[in-house]
């Protein structure tokens, strides 16, 4: 801690001093609860136990916590070896390293041999802000969903994180958790009911549908409120499962609302938008459709909130894209 008084300036992005602001990084504590009930859960991180709050787990289960230092590839293969020995390892690091640096380890050591490792990839998308592209991950959905046998989920808040951790603990094969930086405001007031491969309808609507992932769920909710004033009734789907994808919900949204906007903190190529486009095209449905996200570019330097606003990943930005889609 670098603060003397203990008062946290909400403007800070310092990972240590702003920990109390990172209220949605709850998996360290949740896994500690789960590990109270079963002895096969272990947690690994790569010199990030403070940043990702796996320290909450380490304090309660020090004998089942392994900090491997800055050696992410080693961590992923180690986790696979633990899974092959009957454990359920949760391996956590920044999404830029989990999904990109370690892509081949996820494929070869987890997905191919069907190892039940859970990869907790935090600070996904452009949430690292001014740390720059080395620390951004706008390709990891595309990479992980192309791996046969990989389940890909994206909890949008603390309650979805808790719900998905518990719902997937015994899922066969690996699960890639795409997580934010921890400041995501709660969308759900309690852990939502999770059905494998199903989106959650967080807002009913009949004029258009936003299928959103991660931080975009909360922003889509704000957009829905703004559009309500214009008489546009927006459906909002939380794409908490990116693989398997909820084909039924996509087709229903297409039929029932006639317009679909996907929103993701990811390149529009190969991610949620690409996945939904595949379903719509194969379904032969005529629907107004657009992909909203990072448009095949590397993000500018800015604080995270500024970046989200700049790339239209906030309520106003999504509202504008829905208006364009319906125009």
């Amino acid at each position: 801690m670098t603060t003397v008084t203990g008062n946290r300036d909400p403007k800070t992005w310092n990972m240590s001093t702003s920990l109390p602001l990172m209220f949605s990084l709850v998996y360290g504590a949740e896994l500690a609860d789960m590990a109270d009930e079963r002895d096969d859960i272990v947690v690994l991180t790569a010199d990030l136990k403070t940043s990702n709050r796996t320290s909450d787990f380490a304090q309660r289960h020090p004998d089942r916590f392994f900090d491997v230092g800055i050696a992410e590839q080693n961590m992923m293969s180690m986790a696979a070896g633990m899974a092959a020995s009957g454990l359920i390892p949760y391996a956590s690091t920044f999404a830029s390293f989990a999904g990109l640096l370690c892509a081949e380890h996820l494929r070869t050591d987890m997905a191919y041999p069907a190892m039940p490792v859970r990869v907790l990839a935090h600070h996904a998308g452009i949430s690292f802000g001014f740390y720059g592209t080395s620390h951004h991950a706008t390709e990891d959905i595309a990479i992980t969903r192309a791996m046969a046998g990989m389940t890909v989920v994206a909890p949008c808040d603390s309650n979805a994180t808790r719900a998905l951790l518990r719902a997937t603990v015994d899922t066969p094969g690996p699960v890639y958790f795409r997580l934010g930086r921890g400041r995501e405001r709660d969308v759900y007031t309690a852990p939502p009911k999770v059905e494998h491969g199903r989106f959650v309808t967080v807002r009913e609507g009949c004029d258009a549908t936003v299928i959103a992932s991660g931080i975009a769920v909360s922003a889509a909710f704000q957009a829905a409120d703004l559009l309500q004033d214009q008489g546009i009734d927006l459906r909002v789907l939380d794409a908490m499962f990116l693989k398997p994808l909820d084909v039924d919900a996509i087709l229903a949204a297409s039929r029932e609302t006639g317009a679909i906007l996907t929103v993701e903190e990811h390149n529009v190529l190969g991610g949620l938008g690409g996945a939904v486009a595949e379903i719509l095209a194969e379904g032969g449905l005529s629907v107004r459709f657009a992909r909203h996200g990072i448009n095949d570019e590397y993000a500018l330097i800015a604080p995270p909130t500024h970046l989200w606003r700049h790339y239209g990943l906030d309520g106003e930005g999504i509202k504008r894209r829905v208006e364009e889609l319906l125009a």
């Binding site: 272990v42 004998d63 089942r64 392994f66 491997v68 230092g69 050696a71 590839q73 080693n74 961590m75 992923m76 293969s77 180690m78 986790a79 696979a80 070896g81 633990m82 899974a83 092959a84 020995s85 009957g86 454990l87 390892p89 081949e104 380890h105 070869t108 050591d109 191919y112 041999p113 069907a114």
Partner: protein, 296 residues
């Protein structure tokens, strides 16, 4: 508990293990003939190590391949799996008929081993440099679960070029894994030639020592030296991992392939194949006569 357990340090004479190593070479030649191409020489360098591991050292339960207390063997140099398949079939992990399907459409047996298809393979491999990390995970899992199995990981010498090996080496000594053994098949060559010309790996022993490992350098074609090294392994609840640097020769056992630059991957024509098989079987006959003499 499985019905039959093969315990550690089973009785096996040097001649029996030498015979077995050459049998592995012979079987490898047969399997490559099915595929039309294969890594003969990468198996030949570690044939004695395979023989000593599977016919003497490892605690195994071939009829219960996932028995949690078995010793693990990971083949980091996965391209040598062709030498392991005949051994696993012989020990009863799967029917010997599978060998005839090697590399054919839908076969469980490919160039690199797949743990989901081949009973007895403790982890899939093929991407060089991963398996020591996997072994660190298995050795740590033994600690968490309070089991006394030992994890062996065989890596190639050129595999030491991979950075991840050293991440794993660092982690193994940090986590005090006395239940982990790395075996370096120091066969002197990678695909492009001698390691010391392509990307030097020496001093190997010094590097592992610097990473906190207990290091033994042995003559890797000497079955007696291999067995002595295994006999001197520390207890599994000890705190320092062991690295066995096995000095071997890529292609050892067939004179025209021994340290031959163009034999990393290859295919023996009929004349060469016969020459190789005659050389091996003549040696095996010598071991057989001594084994019989000893038995009578």
């Amino acid at each position: 508990m499985p019905d039959t357990i093969l315990e550690r340090s089973r009785p096996a004479t040097a001649d029996e293990l030498k015979w077995r190593a050459d049998w592995i070479r012979l079987k490898t030649i047969e399997l490559v003939a099915v595929a039309g191409s294969g890594h003969y020489t990468s198996v030949f360098s570690c044939a004695e190590l395979f023989a000593a591991l599977y016919y003497r050292e490892l605690r195994l339960a071939p009829h219960d391949p996932t028995w949690p207390d078995r010793d693990r063997f990971l083949l980091g140099k996965g391209h040598a799996a062709i030498g392991l398949y005949p051994v696993l079939a012989d020990l009863g992990y799967f029917p010997a008929e599978w060998l005839e399907t090697y590399s054919r459409l839908g076969s469980p047996l490919g160039d690199h081993p797949d743990m989901r298809k081949v009973p007895g393979i403790d982890f899939s491999s093929g991407s060089i440099g991963h398996n020591l990390s996997v072994g660190v995970g298995m050795a740590l899992a033994a600690r968490v679960q309070r089991r006394d199995y030992r994890t062996f990981v065989m890596t190639g010498d050129a595999e030491l070029n991979e950075g991840q090996v050293w991440e794993a080496a660092m982690a193994a000594s940090h986590f005090r894994l006395g239940n982990l053994v790395a075996i370096i098949d120091r066969n002197q060559m990678g695909l492009d030639g001698y390691t010391e010309n392509v990307m030097a790996v020496e001093p190997i022993a010094g590097k592992w020592e610097a990473f906190g490992w207990r290091v033994m350098s042995i003559e890797g074609h000497d079955v007696t030296a291999i067995c002595e090294a295994f006999d001197s392994l520390p207890a599994t609840d000890s705190e320092q991992p062991t690295c066995i640097v096995a000095l071997t020769r890529k292609g050892a056992g067939v004179s025209f392939m021994d340290l031959a630059l163009d034999w990393h991957l290859g295919f023996l024509g009929p004349v060469d194949r016969e020459d190789a098989e005659v050389e091996i079987t003549q040696r095996m006959a010598g071991y057989e006569s001594r084994i019989k003499e000893f038995a009578s």
